[in-house]
Amino acid sequence: MSTTLLIVQTLNGLQLGVLLFLIAAGLTLVFGVMDFINLAHGVQYMLGAYLAVMFYGLTGNFFFALILALGAALAFGLILEFAVFRHLYDRDHLDQVIATFGIIIFLNQGVKLLWGASPLSLPMPEIFSGSIVLMPGILYPVWRLVIIGSGLVVALILYLLVGHTRAGMLVRAGATNAPMVSALGVNIRRLFMIVFGFGTMLAGFAGIMIAPILSVEPGMGDTILILAFVVIVIGGIGSIRGAFLAALIIGLVDTLGRSFAVDILRLFMAPSPARTVGPAIASMLIYLLMAVVLYLRPAGLFPAKGRA
């Protein structure tokens, strides 16, 4: 267990955490304000990546691709909202689960149709493509630092928007008691659309930013979607602050857990069983964490609707 590895993996954990936050933020707001379970949020993330690849192919420039992809992702999200989700706000969660599940199946197959099943790649911008020396002996990819940085900037913007603007106040109020906000004369439909659109863009942004590091393939949104759900459940539905904290915790626990589980277990048992059991336990860690948190606080750490 070297310090270098520890530092690198901590940074990787932060990067995962920030990525999770970008996805979870939109998810928790949509949940909190509209009481809408959107399983299709993961495909927004995937779509962002695919659109970026497509626009990069057309423009040859990452930043143009980023902006165009964000716009296209937003447009697509709004179309989905208009065509499907709007009809489901008043339905019970089960129907929402089924419908958005159907959308996942449709879109996962759809991208296969359009772009084929093999993984695609998106090159990262030249200036960020190297590694820098953080400390003697620690070389870390610049792009991952960019992800961490942009994620923190987004978190700050969200914090200011939600906490210190009138629109943000409406969002927070909506997350606590949407019918009341509507009864007070606020155009709740427009609020929903804005919240939803924002969430879509955040997810798409996450997909675009991670695309240079991971491969872009059908179904890439599915696993991260569940992690995002764990994040918002631990953080408390409707709470940006909760999502931020939970995302970082989960990113760190998962990454560090996977790296060091075997080593930590070796302190207690022989190398061979440690190597077998280690990965299994590592994959369980965040779910155990979730179980403990929910056992003590069944509504998460910072639930928007008050203590349950």
């Binding site: 129907d95 990965p279 299994a280």
Partner: protein, 329 residues
């Protein structure tokens, strides 16, 4: 509607046959299929309908939870997987006797249901859905990391379960009838449970958990017990599944499979028990048919599900009831 029918016992006795036409037809159809299949593509039909029956068992157990308890479990496939892996893991150690592997399968799923149910049932609504999903994922990832048992690629099962030394499941026909018996047994068990004192408290909790508490019932306990029973029945389905496919892999408990189970129950008609059977059949048969049409059949399947969710209230049974009502004028 099922609740009021259950309570008015004299009326129920009168309409005992009438109310049960559909389930009776279903089971007669399942029972007679092998005879019909002998004249055509026997192996294919038998294996297809065997799969339908196995998933029908799992869907039944899920209907117990979502239809009668409003406990929307999005991790139910995990129990199927646990049951299947019990067979697979024991098989890898050359233990093939069903007298050992079946109780092991049931115990594994029941224990997991108990341990996770304790946590899950303290949450409500959306949290419950999410936490069951997450626990299902957890089991999935544990299975993928089980390198000695195939990990991601899964485990082939060399020998189907034997019963005290007899190769009871060896032939597809025999397996078919075993699955049929299990489905019938599971269905009857669920019917009995729902009508019992225990079941009534459980159903009452779905209607108004607060009221049940103020009458003197500790609702949590009843839900936990039902959650364990549901998990165990799905574990039985897993036991049968691994025998039917001679294979077990983490894919059996992917969260998408849990989603499939939810769709089966809703498609057929939630809260009716036989709706789950119909839904399982409709889902798997549609899947089979569509996938024969085009490689990209999921592009059709996805929107189909969306339409089901948006429009088909009460599932196929609900549609059937409305049609009957319209025909009667």
């Amino acid at each position: 509607m099922a609740d009021v029918a259950l309570s008015s016992s004299s009326a129920a006795r009168r309409s005992l046959l009438a109310g049960n036409v559909l389930p009776i037809l279903l089971f007669v159809a399942f029972a007679l299929l092998p005879l019909f299949a002998a004249f055509s593509a026997e192996a294919y039909l038998l294996s297809l309908v065997t799969r339908v029956m196995i998933f029908a068992i799992a869907a039944l157990s899920l209907d117990l939870l979502i239809g009668y308890g409003a406990l929307i479990s999005f991790g139910h496939a995990a129990f199927i997987g646990l049951g299947a892996y019990a067979v697979g893991i024991l098989g890898a150690h050359e233990i093939h006797d069903a007298l050992i592997s079946l109780p092991a399968a049931l115990a594994a799923s029941a224990l997991f249901a108990f341990a996770t149910g304790i946590v899950c049932l303290r949450t409500k609504g959306v949290y419950f859905i999410m936490i069951t999903l997450a626990f299902g994922q957890m089991v999935f990832f544990i299975a993928t990391s089980l390198a000695p048992y195939g990990g991601d690629d899964g485990l082939t099962i060399r020998l189907r379960s034997t019963l005290a030394g007899f190769s009871v499941f060896a032939s597809d026909r025999a397996l078919y009838y075993v699955c049929f018996a299990c489905l019938l047994g599971a269905y009857l068990l669920c019917r009995v449970l729902i009508a019992s004192r225990f079941g009534r408290v459980y159903r009452g909790a779905r209607e108004n958990a607060l009221r049940m508490g103020t009458i003197g019932f500790e609702v949590y306990r009843y839900q936990l017990i039902m959650y364990v029973i549901g998990g165990a029945i799905a574990g039985l389905a897993g036991f049968l599944l691994s025998n039917a496919t001679d294979f077990v892999s983490p894919a059996y408990m992917a969260w998408q499979r849990s989603g499939d189970l939810l769709i089966m129950v809703i498609l057929g008609g939630m809260g009716t028990l036989h709706g789950a059977i119909i839904g399982a059949a409709a889902f798997l048969l549609t899947e089979e048919w569509l996938s024969g049409l085009t490689e990209h059949w999921k592009v059709i399947f996805g929107p189909l599900l969306v339409l089901v969710a948006v429009f088909a209230r009460g599932g196929l049974i609900g549609v059937g009831t409305r049609l009957r009502g319209m025909l009667r004028g």
